[in-house]
Symmetry: C2
Subunit: 526 residues, 2 copies
């Protein structure tokens, strides 16, 4: 096992002058893990942010090839500590070793995918409009533009993805690919895992000869350290995955800065699943099994967890509900990520079960002990759901609320009543889908991703993925946090008018030395 120092990483320096106050907790045992981590001081936080701003001057000009080498080096370094991660992260998170190994693989794949994007280089969206000195009444200037990095980025680790959405997760990979230095705020839920990965990133910075401030990792309480990071003038954008309350508080800080900055928060989603009558008639048991797998995957601790299942009660839905109840009832209890998430699930599930309009259909096997969650299946009616906002709130954990309705009109009313979501899922036969085009149209306006005949969990990391969606699923539905499109979260277009060729960025030089795809005088040229 690599040595844990219990300290923040401020460029190439070690932070942590203060006493350790942040300890990982083994959620299964309640045991406090060593070492403890000191919160960064104000001076250390300032240094991390200012280092990043300095590093931007060099890193923002670093070639795509060099950024690719850096991203691949990070992936190699993380793979090299795969066994350490597989040993430590389960202790901190309660997640099984297999999941940690799979998430480590995904994290490295993500880094390498962004390496190919940076290396290939066309992501900058280069546009060239040539001059026309003879145009009347005024000559046409030479105008060229491309995406450039925004500046230093703050990345908040997510508790539920200790690797893929944390220190070297999607936001960090896309920010680095764009040319932005990153200051990561560690999550108190897996501080040791964060440090292991932070050391891997920091070593890659050194090995690749990149400027010191390209990467820092700071520890501290969200309210102080996280807020200070978002407010710091040297930080020009931030990415966050977490609760709606936390995300909205940081959104407000970002908007209220003297210089407001883009703030990408992924916050809250109930990921409705609509089962249409034809599919229900055809494969109720299979659907119940699929839904059960999706709702209990990872103890339901995914942003895309199917929290609401909408059924047409003019069809025979009882075999489906009975099968799902059987599966939920037989589900073993499991350990949640941390005491906070576990307590929130317990109180949320308790409130739902205690709602007079809600029937508790089945509960999974109860397990005594720290942070144990049992699966839960609740049921209510469309009218109750439409009349009580609390039924549409996210319950983070292995549960779903079945909402029954009496046909297309009420189903559309339910769809239209939804807040913004990461995903919506429709399960139906071809005839079902054809007959419910309006449902698909409504859902498209509510979500970042519409899934047909699949389940929302299991976000494919690919070029076409959109993991985002209208508020409150995210703070800003114009982007994705998964897939190669995420690079554009941390960029802005810059236009170069009348530049001598030699002073243009390589991407915009006439001879196209990087061989990238460009839009030239309106035509795509390759």
């Amino acid at each position: 096992m690599a040595e844990l120092t219990g300290k923040s990483i401020i460029g190439f320096q070690s932070g942590g002058e203060g006493d350790p106050t942040i300890f990982g907790i083994n959620p299964a045992t309640g045991e406090s893990l060593q070492p403890g981590y000191a919160a960064v001081s104000e001076a250390e936080l300032n240094r991390a942010a200012e280092f990043a701003a300095e590093a931007f001057e060099v890193f923002s000009k670093t070639s795509g090839t060099a950024k690719a080498t850096f991203l691949r080096k990070i992936a190699d370094n993380i793979e090299a500590i795969g066994d350490d991660l597989a040993q430590l992260a389960p202790q901190e998170t309660g997640l099984p070793e297999g999941r940690i190994r799979m998430e480590t693989g995904r994290t490295c794949s993500q880094l390498r995918l962004f390496a190919t994007v940076a290396e290939e280089g066309s992501w900058v969206g280069a546009r060239i409009d040539h001059a026309d000195p003879d145009r009347a009444p005024v000559p046409k200037p030479d105008v060229r533009s491309m995406e450039r990095p925004l500046g230093s980025v703050a990345v908040f680790c997510a508790s539920n993805f200790p690797l893929a959405f944390s220190v070297a997760g999607g936001d960090t990979a896309s920010a680095f690919a764009a040319g932005c230095p990153v200051v990561v705020k560690a999550h108190h839920s897996h501080p040791g895992t964060a440090e292991l990965v932070g050391q891997a990133v920091s070593a890659a910075v050194r090995d690749c000869g990149l400027p010191e401030g390209t990467f820092s990792l700071v520890y501290g309480p969200g309210r102080e350290t996280g807020s200070a990071l978002v407010r710091h003038p040297a930080i020009k954008a931030a990415g966050f995955t977490g609760s709606r309350v936390g995300g909205q508080a940081l959104m407000k800080l970002a908007a209220d800065r003297p210089e407001p900055i883009p703030f990408y928060a992924e916050m809250s989603s109930i990921n409705p699943v609509f089962i249409l009558p034809g599919a229900m008639a055809e494969r109720a048991e299979q659907l119940a099994a699929g839904l059960h797998g999706s709702m209990t995957l990872g103890v339901g601790q995914f942003c895309t967890n199917p929290g609401v299942t909408i059924l047409d009660s003019t069809a025979d839905i009882e075999p489906f509900v009975a099968k799902l109840a059987e599966l939920v009832g037989a589900s073993p209890g499991a350990t949640m990520l941390n005491p906070g998430i576990s307590a929130a699930y317990d109180s949320g599930a308790g409130a739902l079960g205690g709602n007079v309009a809600v029937e508790t259909v089945a509960l999974g096997q109860a397990v005594d002990g720290q942070c144990q969650a049992g699966a839960a299946l609740f049921r209510t009616t469309a009218d109750a759901f439409l009349g009580d906002e609390s039924l549409g709130a996210e319950l983070f954990g292995p549960s779903t609320l079945v909402v029954t309705h009496d046909g297309a009109d009420k189903m559309l009313a339910l769809a239209k009543s939804l807040e913004g979501q990461l995903t919506a899922t429709v399960l139906g036969t071809d005839a079902d889908l054809e007959a419910n085009r309006e449902l698909l149209d409504v859902l498209e306006t509510k979500v970042g991703r519409v899934v047909v005949n699949g389940f929302p969990t299991g976000v494919e990391v690919c070029r076409a993925m959109v993991h985002g969606g209208p508020f409150p699923a995210t703070s800003d539905g114009r982007s994705t946090s998964v897939g190669t499109g995420a690079i554009h979260r941390f960029t802005r277009p810059v236009c170069y008018q009348g530049f001598p060729d030699a002073l243009l960025p390589a991407e915009l030089r006439e001879a196209n030395p990087l061989g990238i795809r460009r839009l030239i005088d309106g035509e795509p040229i390759f």
Copy 2:
């Protein structure tokens, strides 16, 4: 002349139950123009926003071809009233007829440029990742994504572009091209011009058989009507060009909504011009003439007006200053757009001239009368500029502040001290530019567009243009308000997973029926 009704346009209905309270004013005479316009009632405003939300259901699905026909029809309709506009707009704005005719042409070209973008269709950035059912450990789903319209858009007319940034200006053209209905808030500075153009747009909506709520035009005070529009839940994005105070107030409203929305404000820019020593030695008189033309163009009422000119006093700058002073001194007075802008220029220029650290080098010819502005040339030192924030505030009008410095270090300090800008300009010989790469690097981080050996006014409407920039130049430096890239202000990515081919948008169907450029399994295919 087409008949002016003095009423808002709410879909196909005529608004304006109240008494007329908004009158155009001929800035040159102070004369109040007829008809007066009633502010929309709350009910009318709600109707416009709700009509737009209803129209979105159809208009968001309208084909690129149909949107192109619509945009071209608007352009045709505006051209057909070119003489009316050329007669009315100068009365309302003080702008000369030639400028109005040129701006009418630009407005129609813009609409037609967006028509070609909508028609060609590749702007949606379609991405397709094919399924791989045999992939282990889990099958790979079919994932496709593209940009989709955000929803109904509020557009605020700008006083300084009664056509190109007003009712059928850039924001409206790009929102329509994206598939978003538009509710325009007229500017009190040219209400009749707004109505003429509004009638042209409204007729195009009817003629093209588009839904009624595709377009509305509302009149009312900014504080009430404008605020209510930005706060309205049916509005999903807004575009604004105007003052920093007004823009920031609306930014805050947009961020504080229960559902925050993207708000694109273009607000404030002093567009620094750096003249390097070699160019100064080579062509001082020519530079002075060019700068004079740019600073006085349109009575200096452009967002890109060069408000600060930064000179290296280790070179012989006095011939340049003398020539510029001569030209400014000989500049005829001219009429500003409205009494508010004129009063702000007078008081701003007065404050600058009264600053003990500022020398008033030359004043243009004084003209008595309403809204008359004279050109003004001020001068100060780098140290004074760096020590007094007020010297870096935008002064909207035909003036520039020469700031002298003693060499590269101070020049870089000046560049680094700048807030976000729309543009920065560098005038230099090839040797100057080569020796000042660091200046270009710093400016790139501050602006949306760097101009070399040109002047910032005269924004080319083309694919590569970026008219935007970091705060406070705009509220959101990630976009442009001019050029085809502006379509992405009003879109968000949506992902379709596992869809039957027939239910996919045409842009994503396997056979590519629209023949657009797509990224398929990571490769660009055409």
